[in-house]
Symmetry: D2
Subunit: 282 residues, 4 copies
C-alpha cells in the first residue's frame, strides 16, 4: 500500500449561463483505490450536483455557472493497494467464457474502430500466445511505432488516424491499444486519471484489458508506472471521460494537475514486462 | 394494448468451433412490452448460456457451435401497451436537469460522430423550438434528404458517411437521427427490433430520444408505425446490438424475419406528427 | 482594362540545406492578365531556377537555401482585361462536346472527392437549368451554408470534411465548389492568386468552371470581385498550387501579401449574379 | 524485343443516351512500346471521337451510344523493347534536380494521400539508401503486408484505407506504392495496362517511379513480370485512368481481357530485385 496526493485546478472564463460536467475526482468504486480524503471547491460557491454516471460509476459533478470566472480546485489523498501478479500466469479469457459485463468492451467505439483493424491486429499479433504478454507486445509496438508528440492530434483523432500519422499523445496511445485488444477478442476500456510524477504534469489516459478474470492496467506511453495510476473515470474511450463537458460557453484559462507520492511505495515499472497490475471493483 | 407475433429464423454454416452471441429475443426490461410467450430453439440442441448484457439489459444467448449447420428459431407473442402522448406537451430536457443515466447517450459513438456534426445540426435545427417537434423535424429532414437504398452501405458506414452519400438503410437513418439529437443536447440511443408488417420483412433499426423525462420512439424511415415497434436490444449505436456476433467462422445461409399483428390494435402513425410513443423501463 | 499592384513577402528561418519551390509570381499564360513589370528578389542572393510546371504552366522558382534567414520579395504590376459576359448566354457544355484538355478537371482529386458527392450534388443542384446560373447557385449555397472561419481547417481538410463541419477558409470554399461542379459534369479547377483589397490581406483561393467553351471565374467566399482576381497558379486543387513547397526544413517567420488597384477599373461584383468573368489562355 | 498480343472485350447494356470515354487502347507515346497493329471495333458502328488526353497523352475514344447493347472490341499486337538496367546504378534524383514535368507527381491525389503518410514512410523507409532498391523495398513491404483479395475494396478506397485494412487488389497495391514514394520525395505515377499471362486475366494496375532521370516500372503485386507490362494510360492515380468513364447509364454485361506473348521474349522478373525496367517517352 502506498499513498499519493493528487491535485487539479481548472479555471474557466464563462460568458453565458453554462453547465459543466466535471470529472476530476478519483473513482470511488475500486477496492484497490481508497480515497482517504478529498475536497472539491468551486469558486464562486455555486450550486452543485454530485452524480454517479455510467456503467463504470464515474464520479461527476454538475455545476451551473453564470458569467464570470469559475475556479475548480480538487485535492485528494489516496491509498493505493495495487494487486500485482506475475505475467506468465495470466491468459486471455476465451470468448465463450467472457462475463456479460465485459462484452460491451469488445464493441468498436468513437475513437476505437476495432472493426476496421481486425486484419492489421491479426497480422501483427495474431500468431502470439494469447496471454498477458501479448497485450504487453501491443503496448511495445505502439511505443516503438508511434511518436509521442503534443499538438499533433485533436479531439477528433481516432486510433486509425494515429496508426496512419504515427504520432499522438497519451489518449491516442491508449485508443490504439484498446482497438488492437478488441480486434483480438480482448475486452478493453479507456481510463482517465492521475499519474505519479508525470512529466509534463497533466491528466493522463491509459487503458485496462480483461485477462484471466480481472482487468489489468496498461500504459503504452511508458510515462508512468502502472502501480501509481489513479483512476478518475472509465468508459468505452475518451468520449466517456472528458475532465469537463461544457454546455454553453466557457474558455479554459488555466489548468494545473499534479500527483505526488506521499510514501515510499512500490517503485513500479514503466513497462508491464515484469509485473502485472490489476484493478478490482469494490 | 395490442398483440404482435414475431419470428426470426437464422441458419448458419459453421466451419470450425465458433461462438455466437445471439440478440434476437424481445427485450424483457420494458413495462410497455410484455412477453406473453417466447421460444428460442437451436438445432442441433447445443449448450446455451442466456445473459443480460449492458446498461440496457439486452437479452443475449451465447452458443458454442461445432462444425455443421446451426439453425436458430425464435418466436414470441408480445403485448404492447404503448404510451402515447400529444406532441405539443413534450419538451427537450435542459442539460442541467438530465438524469445521470441519460448522459452517456450524449457522447459520440462508433457510428454516431455527433461531435463532428455540431455546426451542421445547429445550422439546420438550432433555431427551432426545443421540443418533440424538433426531433420530428430531424426525422423529416432525414426522410427527405436520404434515399433508402439497400446495399449502399456496409457495417463500416457512419452517420457522417450517410450525410455525404445521401443513401442508406434503416440503421443508417437511425444513426443520423441519433447524431443530430446528441449534437443538440438530446440524449439518443439506437434500438434494434421487429417492426409490424415491415416491407421487405427484416430486422429493423430505429432510435429513442429523451424528452420531458421519458424516452420516445422515432423512425426516420417512416416504414413502420412507432407504436408497433418491438425492442430487441438498445445501445449507443448498432455496434451494441447486432443480431449475431460471431467469434470463429460462420456463414449465414438463410435469414427470415416476420412481425404480424394478432389483434386490431392502434393503427399507428408512420410519422411522429400526431402521436408521440414513449417507452418505459420496467 | 485596369491595373493592379501585387506584393508578397515571405521570410523563412532555414535550419538545414533546404529546397523551396516558390509559386508566388503571377501567371504568364493568360491573355487577359499582362505582367507589365515584376520583380522577385531573394535575400541572400542564392542561385535560383525558374520553371514552368504542369499543364497550367505555373511559374515556379526553385531555390536551394542553406541555414539562415531567407527573404522572398515579389512585386508586380499587372494589366487586367477581364472578359465579361452576360450570364444568361452561358450554358454548360455537354459531356460529349467537352474538349480533351478539360476532361482531367472532371476527375476527383486529393481535396475534391467529387465521386463521393454525386448524389448530394444531384439532389441540391441536379434539377436546375444547366447553365452559368447553376454554378452561381452552387456558390450561393456554399456562401450561405459554410461559415468562413480561419483556423478551423488544416492542410488535410477536404471538401467532404468542409461539408460536414460547415466551416472553412477560401481554399475550402473553392474545393467544395469544384467538387459540386465535377459531380455535375462541369470541369472545374483550383486557382491560387491575389485578390484586390482582400480583408484580411493574404493569398486567395478560388476556382474556374468550364462553360460554353471558356473557363469562368467563381469565388464562393464573395470576398473579392472576380474581375480583380490575379492568377498565380492553377491545378486540380490546392495540392497543385501551394505558395511554397519545402523540402528540408524551414519555418515561416513572416508573411505579408497585398493587392491594390492602381487605376479606377471596373468595380466588379462580389457575386456572379450580374456579370460573368472569363479567363483566356494566351 | 518481344511481341505481345492484347485483347479486351467490353459489352454494355445502355438504357438511355450515354457517352462513354474508353481508355483501353495501348499508349502511343512510348518509345519502348510500338503498336504494330491495332483495331478498335464498336458494335453497333456508332460515331466515335479519338482523343489524346492529359499530360500523359492517354488514347481515349469517346462514343455516344443510344439505348441498346454496345460491344467494344479492342485488339493489338505490340513490340516491347524494355530498357533494362542493373539496379545498383540507379539512384533517387535529389529534389533540387527533379525536372519540372516530374513535380506534379509528388503531389497528393485522390487515392494517394502521400501527405498523410510522411511519418509512416519515413519510419519504415527513411533510413534506407536513396536508390532503386528502396523502391523495391517499398514493393516488398506492400507485398508482405497487404493481402491480395478481390472484392475487399471499392472505387472509393484510398491508399490510407488499404494500409489500415491490409487487403486490396492491384490498383490498391499501386496506390500505396505511389503514396510511399511521393512521401519520400520520389515522383510516382499510376499506370493502367495489360499484363502478360495475368491470372485471373483482367486489366492491371501498377506504377512508375522516377529515379536517375528515368521512369521505372514497379508492380507490388508481383503478379506479372515488369518487362511484359503494356501501358494503356497513366496519371496521378486510378482516377485518371478508368478503362471506361460513363456519362448517362450503362451496365457492364461482360468483360474479357487477355495478353499473350507471341515471341519468346525476355522471361522477366516478377520482383524488381535483379532487373530494373525503364519506360521511355517517344
Amino acid at each position: 500500500m502506498h499513498k499519493i496526493r493528487v491535485n487539479a485546478n481548472l479555471t474557466y472564463e464563462v460568458n453565458q449561463p453554462t453547465t459543466l460536467l466535471l470529472n476530476v475526482a478519483a473513482a470511488k468504486n475500486l477496492a484497490h483505490q481508497a480515497v482517504d480524503w478529498e475536497n472539491l471547491t468551486i469558486t464562486p460557491d455555486i450550486s452543485r450536483d454530485d452524480m454517479v454516471v455510467g456503467s463504470e460509476k464515474n464520479s461527476i459533478t454538475r455545476v451551473c455557472a453564470g458569467p464570470g470566472t469559475v475556479e475548480i480546485e480538487y485535492s485528494a489523498i489516496l491509498s493505493l493497494s495495487p494487486i500485482t501478479e506475475s505475467p506468465p500466469s495470466i491468459d486471455q479469457t476465451d470468448f465463450k467464457f467472457l462475463p456479460p459485463e465485459t462484452l460491451p468492451y469488445l464493441n468498436p467505439s468513437r475513437y476505437c474502430e476495432a472493426d476496421k483493424l481486425t486484419r492489421f491486429a491479426m497480422a501483427e499479433f495474431g500468431a502470439m500466445v494469447q496471454n498477458f504478454e501479448r497485450v504487453t507486445a501491443i503496448c511495445d509496438w505502439i511505443y516503438s511505432h508511434i511518436e509521442y508528440c503534443g499538438g499533433t492530434t485533436t479531439s477528433l483523432t481516432t486510433s486509425c488516424d494515429v496508426l496512419l500519422q504515427r504520432t499522438g499523445v497519451c489518449r491516442d496511445f491508449a485508443h490504439l491499444g484498446i482497438s488492437f485488444c478488441r480486434a483480438l477478442g480482448i475486452p478493453a476500456r479507456y481510463v482517465s486519471g492521475y499519474a505519479r510524477d508525470l512529466e509534463p504534469a497533466d491528466f493522463h489516459g491509459f487503458f485496462e484489458a480483461y485477462l484471466s478474470g480481472r482487468w489489468y492496467l496498461f500504459d503504452p506511453t511508458r510515462m508512468a508506472p502502472t502501480d501509481g495510476l489513479v483512476r478518475i473515470g472509465a468508459g468505452r474511450d475518451a468520449a466517456d471521460t472528458p475532465f469537463a463537458t461544457i454546455w454553453g460557453h466557457a474558455s479554459l484559462l488555466k489548468k494545473t494537475v499534479s500527483a505526488k507520492a506521499l510514501t515510499e511505495g512500490p517503485l513500479g515499472q514503466n513497462a508491464n514486462d515484469e509485473q502485472a497490475v490489476a484493478v478490482s471493483t469494490a
